[in-house]
Amino acid sequence: MVSPSPAPSQIQQPAPGTTPPASSSATSSRGGVSGSVASPFGAQAQQAGLNIVVLDPPHGGTDPGARGTGGIRESEIVLDFVIQVRRALELQGFQVVQTRQGNENPSFDDRSATANAQRGAVFVSLHVSSTGLPGTVRVYVNADLPPVADSNGLIPWDHAQAPFLGLSKTFGDLVQGFLTQRFKGSPDSAQAASVRQLRTTAAPAIAVEISSVTVEDRADLDRMAPGVADAIARGAASFKPSYVVPNSPGGLP
């Protein structure tokens, strides 16, 4: 459990023995908050509605993620994708926070902590797969999680996504819809999967996976970036009116 002070988060910290999430201040400095927003507990708390998108380029450091025979590394290409997604989101008026900026590899909990420290945020983890029909894109939301049950109203860190599953599905379906318009052969709706990164995220959260690192020429993937960026930005903009932002960072919807 964690006390409400100094950060009024409703998220419990991981149990002893697990990787602790970064503190809020550490998160802010690493998280790369764009524009003038330096602290998630300052000016943002005064604003209403969805206004922040946390972008997660997974892997990094010694973890390259998926690797193609042509030398394509997921950890590198997602950083390039994130640049374009960020630009598209900022054009839609969103503030963007990244879970990593360079070739480092924060833990799953550290990445979730970056998102959980924000108020009025959604979380998008961007992946490139090893398999799947090249040129298609799939959106994943977390599979069923046990219901939140805590007498003091705190959300267990391990199941922080549980209260947001419905919102995540709505957000995921919207993004998937825009992606399918661009990338034929992609599914019509978001799919359920037990994606580890999403489980500890207390916000509407999706994973977007692009197929795949097996393309012979990296340019084939690069050409997909503007379409992916546009779909995510339009999905976030369409989702904005339906998201009632909780009163505190990481709070219940």
């Binding site: 149990a15 892997h59 398999t131 599905k169 999967a193 994973a207």
Partner: protein, 231 residues
């Protein structure tokens, strides 16, 4: 060189080019097939040495549904029915079907699990939780990605669902240890739903044919089910 010789030389070259154009694709197919057979036989030899599939000649042969990748629809599973001698003991039966699943389909490209992965142990708790302990190759050799990792786990859970009704949930261990993810994406810290229905006596040949295992939210198998995590 006389015109006659030129004619015969050019004619010979044309015939040689045509013969090569016809023969090369055939040769290429033969080389690919030979390489695949060699790879399969190496896998088979390793498997026979390290993890013999436990079979009892007295066990009844039943129609067993194994879930491998579809060659028609991308990133989906399809059931393949094979006759196998299966034990009535749920633990032994689970080992038999999982080892057959690991051995892979005839077409190696449709396998969902790495060829070098082994089932080290299988336990069944009184509450119906199965614990499958796989060798490290399952985590290190499965292609990294949500879709491929989900396909691997779903092939395991759906194969157990179709053949071992006593297994209600499945916990996957890697070399005896709980790991956070399979290959960087799929969460292995919880258990996966296998059979939501009450246990029935094994009768694989009477079981209704399940729909192909698409990775959709409607499919119960493969969903992370319950906490059972660290206190």
């Amino acid at each position: 060189m006389t015109p006659r010789w030129k004619f015969w030389l050019i004619g010979g070259l044309v015939i040689a080019v045509l013969a090569a154009a016809i023969y090369f694709p055939i040769l290429r197919r033969r080389v690919k097939r030979a390489a695949r057979l060699q790879q399969q036989s190496e896998e088979q030899a390793r498997r026979e040495l390290t993890q013999p599939i436990v079979t009892n000649p007295g066990d009844p042969r039943v129609k067993t549904k194994l879930f491998w990748a579809s060659d028609a629809i991308d990133s989906t599973l399809v059931p393949v029915t094979v006759d196998l001698p299966l034990s009535n003991d749920p633990v032994l039966r689970s080992k038999q079907v999982l080892n057959t699943l690991l051995a892979g389909p005839v077409d190696a490209e449709l396998r969902t699990l790495p060829p070098d992965a082994l089932l080290l142990a299988f336990y069944l708790l009184p509450d119906g939780t199965g614990i499958a302990d796989f060798s490290e190759a399952l985590a290190t050799s499965v292609p990294s990605g949500i879709v491929s990792e989900q396909l691997a786990v779903n092939s395991i859970t759906r194969t157990l669902e179709a053949n071992v009704p006593q297994v209600k949930r499945l916990k996957i261990l890697i070399h005896g240890q709980e790991v956070e993810t399979l290959a960087g994406h799929l969460d292995l810290t919880g258990t996966f739903v296998v059979n939501a229905q009450p246990a029935q006596p094994p009768a694989a040949d009477k079981a209704p044919a399940p729909a192909p295992g698409t990775l959709t939210p409607d499919k119960a198998p493969g969903k992370l089910a319950q906490p059972e995590r660290k206190p």
